[in-house]
């Protein structure tokens, strides 16, 4: 335990100072250290009770590698947050100030509070909030551990960390960093064995806290509650597998909580900052309706409206997979895509979506192609993993609530891929990262089950050969 604490402390301190003074060696040292830890874990040289320490250390090192660079904040949207937070520190949280980031209690309440405790806004953004955000993989580790044991949970959490959205994009959105901690706690509650009403109440409170922090994460939490409830009702109607044991009290409690969360969100976001978030929802909904209607009508006249007061939250100028992230809401269809209707419509989707489904494989460099193969492998293993999970429930202690969220995640991803222009209205890479809260364990299940089946297949083949001989 001491080794784990000392080594990770040394890693994060080295990262902090090295990044601040822009030492060229530090990023390589961080990558090397992470690789070393991962190998040691694979070889069984690390005790399972040390996994959370290593997870936290590696996560924080990756985050600070970016946020601690130079003497000021790093990113694109973070500057707007800096603006709002400094304003709140100087003048208090003025809910009428016309900036959508002003809907966030992280900037309006937390930042002034920490400033009063002597932590300047600059260092909150550079050091404090990333240190809080680094807890997300640890919380997810404990959630996954309940379902599949410590070792599998470690690999699943590690995959979550390694997806670049974690340490490249979200790190440039302070309000999202805090909101995702509440979202991770929601995931933890989904897997815990608790009294139904306590679980539902906790989930509802955490969803509301997530909304307080970031309108996007709050919206997605709402989606998971509503979408998950919908899937739960269907699964309960089918009444097979783990859903046989689902009590209607859970369904009812979650339903009430979902209504409460939706009501809170509408009331809160209708009244703060002149209702700009609700306007954004209306425009996104209108755009989706128009595009889908236009698609089925065969017309090319689908017009995407961008809300003028909702800034395109680009997350970062640094792309998650080598391209600029799509703005969060209401942006126009990307320039590169041909008009819908002239080609197969999937070519009109956002660049990252086209990458995810392999439509731009031919245009990538050699390195880009290799990366894409790895990415497709992870996507394939996630899908396979879920397939195996459906048929091998007893091996893993997945709760019904968690499973419906996996279904909801797949629905969200499919909508992103196949619904025309949906992906250009929402930040695709960030959506993918949120779905990984539920899908990351599927990768590990996929690797293990596919590996197991291959081993069995090889074993049979060997036996067959021996018999023939």
């Amino acid at each position: 335990m001491k080794t784990a604490i000392v080594s990770m402390l040394a890693l994060v301190v080295l990262t902090a100072f090295g990044s601040y003074y822009q030492s060229p060696v530090v990023p390589y040292a961080v990558i090397g250290a992470i690789c070393a830890v991962v190998v040691l874990v694979a070889l069984g040289k690390v005790r399972p009770r040390e996994y959370p320490i290593y997870l936290y250390g590696m996560s924080l090192a990756l985050l600070w590698q970016t946020t601690m660079l130079g003497s000021h904040i790093v990113g694109a949207d973070i500057h707007g947050e800096f603006l709002v937070a400094n304003r709140a520190v100087a003048q208090g949280w003025d809910l009428s100030y016309p900036h959508i980031y002003n809907t966030s209690a992280v900037l309006g309440v937390l930042s002034p509070m920490f400033a009063k405790l002597g932590i300047p806004v600059l260092w909150q953004f550079k050091a404090l909030y990333p240190a809080v955000f680094a807890l997300v993989p640890v919380i997810l580790y404990f959630a996954y551990k309940k379902m599949m044991g410590g070792q599998r949970a470690f690999w699943a959490s590690l995959f979550f960390v390694f997806v670049p959205v974690f340490f490249v994009e979200v790190v440039g959105i302070v309000k999202s960093m805090v909101a995702e901690v509440f979202f991770a706690l929601m995931v933890l509650l989904f897997v815990l064995n608790m009294k139904t009403w306590k679980k539902a109440l906790g989930i509802g409170l955490l969803a509301i806290l997530a909304s307080f922090c970031h309108y996007t994460i709050g919206t997605l939490a709402m989606f998971y509650l509503i979408g998950g409830l919908f899937v739960l009702l269907i699964c309960k109607a089918v009444n097979r597998g783990i859903f046989r044991k689902v009590r209607m009290s859970l369904v009812g409690s979650l339903g009430l909580v979902a209504i409460a969360v939706v009501a809170f969100n509408f009331i809160w976001f209708s009244n703060v900052v002149d209702g700009c978030v609700v306007r954004g929802w209306e425009i996104v909904g209108g755009n989706m309706k128009g595009v889908v209607a236009g698609f089925f009508d065969g017309s090319d006249d689908a017009v995407i409206t961008q809300p003028s007061d909702v800034p395109a939250e680009s997350a970062s100028a640094v792309p998650s997979e080598g391209g600029v992230s799509a703005p969060e809401s209401g942006s126009s269809v990307p320039e590169e895509s041909p008009p819908i209707g002239e080609q197969f419509y999937l070519y009109g989707q956002e660049p990252l979506v086209r990458t995810a489904i392999g439509l731009d494989f031919g245009n990538a460099s050699v390195g880009g192609k290799v990366f894409r193969i790895l990415q497709y492998l992870t996507e394939f293993l996630i899908a396979l993993g879920f397939g195996y999970l459906l048929f091998r429930h007893r091996k893993y202690k997945i709760t019904a609530e968690f499973e419906v969220c996996i279904w909801a995640s797949f629905i969200l991803l499919l909508v992103c891929i196949f619904l025309p222009a949906f992906s250009s209205m929402m930040n695709v890479s960030r959506l993918y990262q949120i779905t990984l809260f539920f899908l990351a364990p599927m990768l590990v299940i996929g690797v293990e089950e596919v590996g197991s089946d291959i081993s069995k297949g090889v074993g049979w083949a060997k036996d067959l050969l021996v018999l023939r001989m």
Binding site: Y28, I31, I34, S71, L83, A312, V447, E448, S452
Partner: protein, 318 residues
């Protein structure tokens, strides 16, 4: 979990991480960031490709200057050697230069001084050789500092929190640059020194060429403005570019930068901003790392280099 599966997962995730950490991108020396190809890392690759232009303290100082400093509160105008008479030297050129100086003094410098007093801007008069200043300037009668001492000048500036000194007077390629209170010396003390070009003149046949002096001021000191631009800046009418969203910022400025530097793609002009108490004027601000992507400053047609600290530069564009 069986050990062999742990190893397989380890291998898969490590291979994935080598890409997502940006290590492969850096190792192959890729520069593709304008489309989706491979992930890259700010920490590893920013120095090479300037993907995010990490800010340093000079950048922050520049941004704070734009955000928090007000023109009239942190700027002063210095009138250098606006003498009442020019004595003949060994060459005849002095006579006709006298005419130029007299004309400039009457039509540009005196009106500038009157405007500065109207705006209550701090003014400074340097009479370098104690020749005697033009009486019309009434130096010392309406406030302001009359001095030849760099120390006194420095202390006076510090007392008033002045960070930028605009220079008018004579001569651009002589005293304005070379005196202890001149642009070079005050710049070395950390002040931003800017020449008001139409309120100054270079001396002809001087050892240091007038054009070379202007180039030095433009490239190495605080830059050059006109009196008209100065008045616009004080009035707040001068257009500068800013926004509070990095991506939109680049897109907003792309057209402007296309006009100014048509060969530079927009992503190389990462525009740093911070200005939580700005009055919604627009500003152009270039962090240090972005400078290497700019074509030489004189090609930024119409842009005025307003503030300079270290390598960070603030431009005002018309």
């Amino acid at each position: 979990m069986a050990k062999r599966f742990m190893v397989v997962t380890c291998v898969l995730l490590l291979a994935y991480f080598l890409f997502t950490s940006g290590l492969v991108f850096e190792a192959v020396g890729s520069e593709t960031i304008d489309k989706v190809d491979m992930p890259y890392s700010v920490a590893l690759s920013d120095d090479r490709i300037g993907v995010l232009e990490v800010a340093n303290e000079d950048d922050v100082a520049c941004a704070r200057w734009l955000a928090e400093d007000r023109f009239s509160e942190t700027s002063a105008i210095l009138f250098m050697d606006v003498w009442s008479t020019y004595y003949r030297g060994e060459q005849d050129w002095v006579e006709w230069w006298n005419n130029d100086v007299a004309h400039c003094t009457a039509t540009k410098i005196i009106p500038l001084l009157e405007w500065a007093r109207q705006e209550r801007l701090p003014v400074v008069f340097i009479d370098g050789d104690n020749v005697g200043l033009v009486p019309a300037m009434e130096a010392g009668r309406h406030g302001g500092l009359v001095t030849n001492s760099a120390d006194e000048f420095d202390a006076w500036l510090k007392e008033r929190g002045i960070k930028t000194v605009f220079y008018a007077g004579y001569a651009v390629n002589g005293c304005i640059l070379e005196r202890d209170t001149g642009m070079r010396a005050m710049s070395a003390l950390g002040y931003n020194t800017v020449l008001i070009e139409d309120c100054s003149l270079p001396a002809p046949d001087w050892p240091y060429d007038g054009e070379a002096a202007l180039a030095e001021i433009w490239n190495e000191l605080g830059g050059i403005v006109s009196s008209e631009e100065l008045e616009k800046m004080a009035d707040g009418d001068f257009q500068i570019f800013a926004d509070y969203n990095g991506v939109r910022l680049m897109l907003d400025y792309y057209d402007e930068f296309q006009k100014l530097s048509p060969n530079e793609p927009p992503y190389k002009h990462y525009l740093f901003f911070t200005s939580w108490n700005t009055t919604h004027k627009k500003m152009v601000f270039c962090p240090t790392a972005a400078l290497r992507y700019y074509t030489p400053l004189h090609s930024l047609e119409g842009a005025v280099k307003l503030y300079w600290k270290g390598d960070a530069v603030v431009y005002l564009a018309p």
